[in-house]
Amino acid sequence: MGSFSIPVELIRIVVGVVAIAAFVALNAIILVYLERKVAGHIQRRPGPFEVGPHGILQTVADALKLVGKQLIKPAGADAFLFWLAPVLGFLPIFLFFLPMPFGPVLTTLEVPLGLLLILAFAGLNVLAICIAGWGSNNKWSLLGAARGVAQSVAYEIPLLLALLAVVFMKGSMNLSKIIDSQGAWPWQWNIVLQPLAFLIYFICAIAETNRAPFDLPEAESELTAGFHTEYSGMGFGLFFLAEYANMVVVCAVATTVFLGGWKGPFFSGSWWFLAKVYLLLMLMFWPRWTYPRVRFDQLLNFNWKWLMPLALANLLVTAFIMKVG
């Protein structure tokens, strides 16, 4: 290595982070449009239709509007905390995508503990919700934050246990290695061996990303907008971006761990990865327009009385079979 040569890893990370930023922003624009269209068709109406053909430019217009809006801080709010929250919610996104294997070589950084890296920094999202709710100096925000905390702390545990069952079997937390251990055909994927873990993971993922029917932290009909009631313009925009990016992250993790990642019949590659991620995202949209929001005690009871024991039992059975079989 010369005295002033830049390490290859650094170049890889910089290029990767720029690509991630572009992917996250573009993806959010597409996903919001897609979600509104899906919602429309599920409810037998066309969805956005005015801006561009079939409303295809609607989210671009929305994004421009968000960028142009004035940023307002409520009187009596703690300015530092108030502005810290959206940034804190958005920053970990880059870390989540860093170890993600989009394709055979499309990984920004091979992290041996990739899965753990994602799970560790997922906690920052909850912290952002807390700070936002507290810093806003608003009862609705605070209530939303309190719900957010109870919900994510509870649902994080079965989520971890479900993923742990697969890690048990594969003996690795490297996302690329987990994909390598799966085959191209659907019956060679981990979902066949761990169907219950996948179900638990997916339910918990919906709860962790605060999506309906688990969207209690922002419940529009009760709390105005929950923890982001007071945010205008890009303050809200960052939360919004982070939510959609988080959805992609949880679906990407599900794809990697349970659905064989970028491997697929005939033409393995990143398109299979994206196709599976988008399929899962569609699955995530679906319950939002099908089920009403659950009540808070239902939410917690379901977790502690069903998901948690099931996840534990699943883990125990996995360990037992691993040891005996």
Binding site: D78, L116, F121
Partner: protein, 170 residues
Amino acid sequence: MTAVLAKIVFGSYVLVIAAGALTAAISKSLVRALLGLILTLFGVAGLYLLMAAPLVALMQILIYVGAVSILIFFAIMLVRSGPQEDGARPRTVRQVVLSLLALLAPVVILGSAILQGRARGGPLPAEVPVGELGAGLLGPYVLSFELISLVLFVAMAGAVLIAFEKRGKR
């Protein structure tokens, strides 16, 4: 080159830790103090990373930042009713003097240890694979490992007991 870089990184982590700790101690707002604590925890995670222990570093973030500090936040929310009401009482001279005295104890003990021991930087420890780490925890160190889990279990059982007692009295 790497040695200098490591020193710079170490220095910045120490700065982060110290800044976080000072914020936690001085800040008048409880939530800001908690943020200081979280900053310190992040700094410590960075130090673990520097010592080639990424599993411990990530666990530090997962458990302390992701769970413990969030629960502390929950406690703050339950106790205080709003951000405006969490101003602490002004400190008395006595408190300041006592806390400075308390500060002296670790400074004297650690300082004398450092002066006597002449700490020297060793070579960077090799990164231990997670599998080996697990085998170690359940092999030679199984007793201490289980004892720690026992402590956690007692704490949890105690918390449940306290919660149930309150419910009974109501």
